[in-house]
């Protein structure tokens, strides 16, 4: 059974347009049509000039983040059927990012933030692979497992009012990534990472709105990670202070 539905899509072509504007498209509607499939239908059959990012179609590559009715969403994991009741379906580029074109956001700053938190295992001495794996029990892995599920889609940045105000804020995904490594029993790099978390653009910029966790398509719960980061930052601050006092006394 096929019906039709109208999508209102925010267009922006920097070579022609001064500001985003809305274009409406009527497309055939099936129960299981995803918003991504709707966008691809428009691209193939109605308007080849519409630009959007996508690839895997199964919510793992993180390419297709957009705002659907003002909610940050993966277009491949959102279905037209869920918007029928709302009566309206608006799609626009992710909030809080500069727009490159149509639904394509400029993610450069976000990707740079990932690098800032040094998201890799750091050890004072790495052992050769001939000595086998670093042991890690399922329980130890459980401490960071959820935080390792982030697909870098950027939806949490689109949901974060702090990032909207200050793009220098490292933001939910990068802070979660730092916490993912800090909690890894194989890692010894926490003190280096804390330097970034302690800074003004680190964990303390977060005002715990929690919308980041609500929109996460992979249940990563960045708000929890940042909260843990705040605790760690406080402890780290205390230890640093202690060392400073000790250092003074020793000196």
């Amino acid at each position: 059974m096929s019906d039709s539905i109208t999508l209102h899509i925010s267009r922006y072509r920097p070579e022609q347009d001064d500001a985003p504007w809305v274009q409406s498209y009527e497309i055939p509607y099936h129960r299981d049509t995803s918003v991504l499939e709707a966008l691809n239908y428009i691209k193939d059959h109605l308007d080849p000039s519409l630009s959007h990012r996508w690839s895997c179609r199964m919510a793992i590559c993180g390419s297709c983040g957009v705002m659907i009715n003002d909610e940050p969403s993966l277009s491949c994991k959102s279905f037209l059927r869920d918007y029928i009741a709302a009566g309206e379906l608006h799609v626009r580029a992710m909030e809080n990012f500069p727009i490159e074109r149509d639904l394509v956001s400029d993610l450069g700053g976000f990707i740079d933030h990932l690098k800032t938190v040094q998201p890799y295992l750091m050890r004072e001495q790495d052992k050769p692979t001939s000595e086998g794996e670093y042991l890690q029990t399922p329980h130890e892995m459980g401490r960071y497992k959820a935080f390792s599920q982030c697909i870098n889609c950027g939806l949490c940045y689109a949901a974060c009012p702090q990032f909207g105000r200050n793009p220098e804020f490292l933001g939910p995904a990068a802070l979660t990534l730092a916490q993912r490594y800090n909690l890894d029993s194989r890692d010894e790099g926490q003190s280096q990472r804390m330097a970034h978390l302690n800074e003004e653009e680190g964990v303390w910029s977060c005002t715990f709105v929690g919308h980041c966790s609500a929109v996460c398509p992979k249940d990563v719960d960045p708000a929890a990670a940042i909260n843990q980061g705040k605790v760690a930052s406080t402890v780290n601050y205390g230890l640093n202070l202690l060392n400073l006092i000790r250092g003074k006394h020793d000196g």
Binding site: E15, S49, G62, I151
Partner: protein, 599 residues
């Protein structure tokens, strides 16, 4: 709007250019940087690296680790799984280095699933006689890719060109001396001169209508190499994964069967026992190389026969069989197959805890690709290729699941080190010497951007995908293959009359899709003509006409498709490197018990 002539050409230089930021490209970049610190390594990708299709690999990554397993057994499983079309020196090197590379990923932070004592856990996989598949739940590719991407951030010598769409290899004095790419953000033509180039661009299963692949998997590197005269090898061997979702083709990992899932037909019958994979194994007790743990080619072929005998389910998205996981129970499904549960709920509206998942074979993997030797060197000096885009000779006529993720690390490292070595001993390429070539290429791409022909891109792409399913599917016949070859020739001709509506420069995806469609057409043509030329049945290439059996006399050979401009490829053959395993009959299930005769 800028005209084709006034678009600027940006010039860059690097020591090594790597095209593709998936598992193979990232591993190569790290290896090159470690081998020779100080090299300028350009990592060029049309997507941010963590979007690369490695991310969608689910089940696992092979590497011998158990005491009762051995490199020899992994070798034997791979060679027989590949129906003896594997280069055995390559397989030998691979099995000996896979575990080491998996461990290196572990040292870099990859969250491999563990046993209670903290050691690496392994699971069963199709065609493997022993559990040797490392896994990170059912998101193994995702975790490998993110681990490699994050680790790559440690290396200041790796300079990323994210969202640069590579269009051409640049050639100087008979060597590959750089690449040309479009900066997707601005549409600017960019040439990057280099002493060595590594292609790591992935597969090409988007030539099919129903496939497990992401939209970006369009055979770019294969086509770029082919256009410069590098042969594409064994392109007729395309793997249909037995369990994709009907309609979308979304992948449901083989690990679902490794963990004990079973396939049943319309009557609830475990039909694989009727296709040389039996006898039926008890529910909840999967047995290696039996039934659901048979190799992918045979399991997919069994579906085809079931469908022909009208024993499959009819869904609103076409034929399917049931993949039943219910007996595993909710806890184990959540622990081992969380993504599968999520995918089934989201994209098939079934919860596998309570209902079977409807599945069917869908195009998944190209065993063939850019011809390389065992050092990842292509016949074009200065050019290396690795991963799914390459044909190094590992997979033969049918790849075993979990060998390809391991391939990315094992040979990604080789490619990076080889390229570093070459770069260390080579003089810098002066970008100005590549300019005339790059300007000529740019003129061609600009012409495409502004083209106003009457043919619609989506029509050509859809016709291509249907024609490939029709002629170059699970089973093949001369007449249907010839029909596909004819259709492809006609589609190439229509492609010349393509019309684009978007003539802008900023993130013009219509233009980029048009370039990809050109790549897809080239690659599809090599697949179809290679299939027609191979007059035997082997592995994933099964013929229903006059050639239903393997013919080692005539075809224990790799096929080579060589570009002839707008004409279909020239087909040649090349010997297979057989070191110690002589071709024999492939056997699974109880047939393994009877003495094997050489054939």
């Amino acid at each position: 709007m800028p005209s084709p002539t006034d678009v600027p050409l940006h010039r860059k230089a690097a020591d090594i250019v790597i095209v593709g930021g998936g598992g193979a490209g990232l591993r190569a970049a790290i290896a090159a940087s470690e081998k020779t610190p100080g090299l300028n390594i350009a990592l060029v990708s049309k997507v941010y690296p963590m979007r690369s299709h490695t991310v969608a690999a689910e089940g696992g990554c092979a590497g011998v680790v158990q005491d009762h397993d051995s490199f020899d057994e992994h070798f034997d499983d791979t060679v027989s799984g590949g129906d003896w079309l594997c280069d055995q020196d390559v397989v030998e090197y691979f099995v000996q280095h896979a575990t080491e590379e998996n461990l290196r990923l572990e040292h870099w932070g990859c969250p491999w699933s563990r046993k209670p004592d903290g050691k690496i856990n392994v699971r069963a996989f199709g065609g493997m006689r022993t559990e040797r598949t490392w896994f990170a739940a059912d998101k193994t590719g995702f975790h490998i890719l993110h681990t490699l991407f994050q680790t790559s951030l440690k290396y200041p010598d790796i300079h990323r060109y994210d969202e640069y769409f590579c269009t051409d290899l640049l050639i100087l004095d008979g060597r590959c001396a750089g690449v040309q790419a479009i900066d997707m953000r601005t549409g600017a033509q960019t040439l990057i001169a280099a002493k060595a180039v590594i292609l790591a661009t992935g597969g090409a299963a988007r030539v099919y209508r129903y496939n497990t692949n992401g939209g970006i998997v369009t055979g770019d590197g294969m086509a770029m190499a082919y256009r410069q005269g590098v042969p594409l090898r064994d392109m007729e061997f395309v793997q249909y994964h037995p369990t994709g979702l009907p309609g979308s083709g979304i992948l449901i990992t083989e690990a679902a069967r490794g963990e004990g899932g079973v396939l049943t037909n319309r009557d609830g019958h475990r039909y694989l026992q009727d296709y040389g994979l039996g006898p039926e194994t008890p529910l909840g007790q999967p047995k290696n190389k039996y039934m659901e743990l048979g190799p992918r080619d045979k399991v997919s072929q069994a579906f085809w026969h079931e469908a022909r005998h009208d024993r499959v389910l009819t869904t609103d998205k076409g034929d399917a069989v049931n993949l039943d996981l219910r007996h595993l129970g909710e806890a184990r499904i959540n622990e081992r197959l969380p993504l599968i549960r999520d995918l089934a709920k989201t994209y098939a509206a079934v919860d596998p805890v309570a209902q079977p998942i409807p599945v069917r074979p869908t195009a998944h993997y190209t065993m063939g690709g850019i011809q390389t030797d065992r050092h990842t060197q292509t016949p074009l000096p200065g050019l290396f290729a690795v991963g799914e885009c390459a044909s190094i000779g590992l997979h033969g006529a049918n790849r075993l699941g979990s060998n390809s993720l391991a391939e990315l690390s094992v040979f990604g490292r080789v490619a990076g080190e080889q390229a570093a070595e070459l770069a260390r001993h080579s003089d810098a390429v002066d970008p100005r010497r590549l300019e005339a070539q790059a300007v000529e290429n740019a003129r061609r791409w600009e012409q495409l951007r502004t083209t106003r022909g009457e043919e619609k891109m989506a029509d050509i792409r859809t016709a291509l995908a249907h024609s490939m399913e029709e002629g170059i599917g699970i089973y093949r016949m001369e007449s249907a293959m010839q029909q596909t070859c004819d259709t492809l020739a006609e589609l190439r001709e229509r492609y010349q009359r393509l019309g684009l509506q978007d003539h802008s420069l900023t993130f013009n995806t219509e233009w980029l899709y048009a370039i990809e469609l050109g790549f897809l057409l080239d690659v599809a043509q090599t697949m179809a003509h290679a299939a027609l030329a191979r007059q035997e049945s082997r592995g994933s290439h099964q013929r229903l006409d006059d050639f239903p059996t393997r013919d080692d006399e005539r075809y224990l050979k790799h096929s080579l498709a060589v570009c002839r401009g707008d004409q279909p490829p020239d087909m040649n053959f090349q010997p297979v490197n057989i070191t110690r395993s002589q071709p024999a009959e492939r056997r699974y299930g109880d047939a393994m018990q009877s003495p094997r005769e050489a054939v």
